[in-house]
Symmetry: D2
Subunit: 241 residues, 4 copies
């Protein structure tokens, strides 16, 4: 089955922060897009500055899974676009949220919680332990996925109880974090995956790219989708005397 991914990147740090530009001169989206295509996904990109942030009705109608990276410009995302995306998720579109996207408007909108974390920009090593090895997203990872240098996120991660807890991160600085989690919202499936601070080349790591690709495939809807659910009046099925 072809899965049509829309890869959304805020694309701000890469243009305004020299340190980030060195790591991702082409933009995070232009690193991830070819990697995901190599995993057999159909990928289009969109960024904050595109009209409607590249997420108009037509674009979303042609999207199976929306992949989201944002950080400094969360508040610049228009509320009408957030509501449009939420309605599409409710109708069945998948959503994969990366790293600092934990505090994006769309993720908070769908979770209903603060979505806050404890954090530290540091030279921590992150070791992501697999706790559900039979899950398709964890396929082939073995016992853990290690990232040499990453930003630290620590508990409490203020999200609703996940439906599936796939990985827990260990950090050299002494913390832990639930770092690969899934939920359903309406008909749509949501996957949050922690790694990917903009000052480290995390998205150039093959195993990280593979998790994101499997996450997109997992989140893709079955069948046609349709309109978001509505309140509906119904006639009785039983006819009692």
């Amino acid at each position: 089955m072809t899965v049509r991914v829309r890869l959304w990147n805020e694309f701000w740090h890469e243009r305004h922060n020299p340190e980030v530009r060195k790591v991702y001169p082409e933009g995070i989206h232009e690193v991830l897009a070819p990697a995901l295509r190599a995993h057999g996904l159909e990928v289009r990109t969109a960024t904050l500055e595109d009209p409607e942030h590249g997420l108009d009705e037509a674009a979303l109608a042609a999207t199976d899974v929306l992949l989201w990276w944002g950080h400094k410009q969360h508040e610049a995302v228009a509320d009408r676009v957030v509501e449009r995306v939420a309605a599409r998720v409710h109708a069945g579109m998948g959503l994969v949220v990366l790293h600092s996207g934990h505090f994006s408007k769309i993720f908070r909108r769908l979770m209903g919680t603060p979505c806050t974390v404890n954090w530290r920009v540091a030279t921590d090593t992150e070791r992501m332990w697999v706790v559900k090895p039979e899950h398709p997203i964890c396929e082939g990872l073995g016992r853990y996925l290690e990232i040499p240098r990453e930003e630290m996120y620590g508990e409490v991660f203020e999200v609703p109880e996940p439906e599936e807890l796939l990985m827990i991160s260990w950090f050299t600085g002494g913390e832990v974090f639930r770092s690969a989690l899934t939920w359903t919202r309406g008909r749509g499936k949501i996957f949050y995956f922690r790694p990917g601070h903009e000052t480290y080349p995390t998205y150039r790591i093959a195993a990280v790219q593979a998790v994101i690709a499997r996450g997109c495939r997992w989140a893709a809807p079955r069948g046609e989708g349709g309109a978001p659910p509505q309140n509906q009046r119904r006639e009785p099925i039983e006819r009692l005397p």
Copy 2:
């Protein structure tokens, strides 16, 4: 432990619809409030037309559990009040949502889903089967709680997977509905309880009042509460060489 309940009622049908006025001439809140007081709860009421809908900062600071009944006037609730209530729930305040409150702004805000149902105003009997008899909210109910005449709500109830499913309703018209459910959002506990259409005297039934009273007690926070969670920067705990 004293539990301070704020009982919020839209209080619109009782004043504008003669059929409802016959059932609840004093208002739904003035039927439920003394019933809950008889169960040992401290109860204050608030309605849509009060300044800030009776839900200003001071009122919420003095509230352990907010009880919510609304229907026709969901859209008349100010967004700033909805956000204020959501922040209090995140910080630990309990929330008990009744019947058509399933489509209130505050419930949809905290669930992140459409919260829609299938429905029929009918003369259905509703039989609420207990599926988790060991839960404090179900104490003393036996196998089921029956309500002679009620509005029908049918699946799919478009909410996130509940943390606890306490009761499932059977309707004479042929449908079923998950009708007593719990979630956590931040530090706050949420209980949804289905019955209570405004044209039937459901809230005058002792067993229904008792479930709502136990629900309030269950949702009450432990300890002092505090501010809603924030993103916080942290220093390393471990100091590696």
Copy 3:
């Protein structure tokens, strides 16, 4: 992907009870096996009276999903076979349990609970309402699956909290039942599906056959499987000064 199903039937009623023989003269397994093959599954059958009940190590090693129907002869299943099957589920084999299999040794072994129900042999209609329409097992069902005449099972169904609740049954006699449920045990996926009393031709209904076929496909393991998990001693990954 080819899914190798082992379809286990107690095969007692069909030989000893004339009423059942009229409904399933060839045995329940010989009705379900060709139906599942028509859905693209590879199916072998096994019955209680086969050596080792048809479930020796070699048979299980060649099985992706075990499908189980039993009723009167639960206690005749040898404990060593139950443990062998449990070990295979822990290692990744799927298990689909039908109807009265709720009280089989293998299901109780894997659930850890009494697995009891309330029941009535009756002429109830069963209407199975879909509560998770996006799940692959529910594909194409619409709002509900109706079975004209069935045995009634009522709550409380004494199983652990399911990971997924897919359908809830409504019965004309006045009860409800969680009737399509999933769990994971070790690496293995488990699906319980309620319908199929031996005195009614439930397994001749195309929609019922299709649910079972999708259930087998859903429960099939990914990849190679292996040995059941063991306690294992590990060396430190970090080397602290």
Copy 4:
């Protein structure tokens, strides 16, 4: 409410291993019992060598919560006692399982999974991060509970998906572990709490004692309890023409 705790200790290491005798000369149970009494619990002790391991019908009938520590002698526990305890849990008795009790017969019986872990006897520091601070068992812990020296347990912990995940442990050696978890089995509540290797004085730490005391209080049944659930035949509630 008085909670009657039966504290079961294998009591083998303390008598046969000089290293352990130095840490717990009086036996683990004689360290924990007075500590739990100081928290207001009523505590009786029982050990492996008592007749029926101190767990005959009369003893269990007078028990609200059974607390379990075992390690080397898991296989010496009689199967009939395991079944008797399981039936009591199904009927409502609470069960708190400590540390190496993860591989006890009773815990495996109730979980239905292998309950295996990865482990290392080492000088790891264990830092238990609270992920559900609003839960009564976590009251007063702050962000984490640290234990200076402990045995390491690492994921995958082969248990069913917990109903509540309360704490996650970080170990200096580089691993993580879900270390405070809850489940329900029948009417009974189960709490697993990881720390307590016999060669370290973990159970002399006040914060550890307090978690166990709160765990016992949390697991205590409401009301009278009764018999374990049975399959029961029922007459129709509805009488259709």
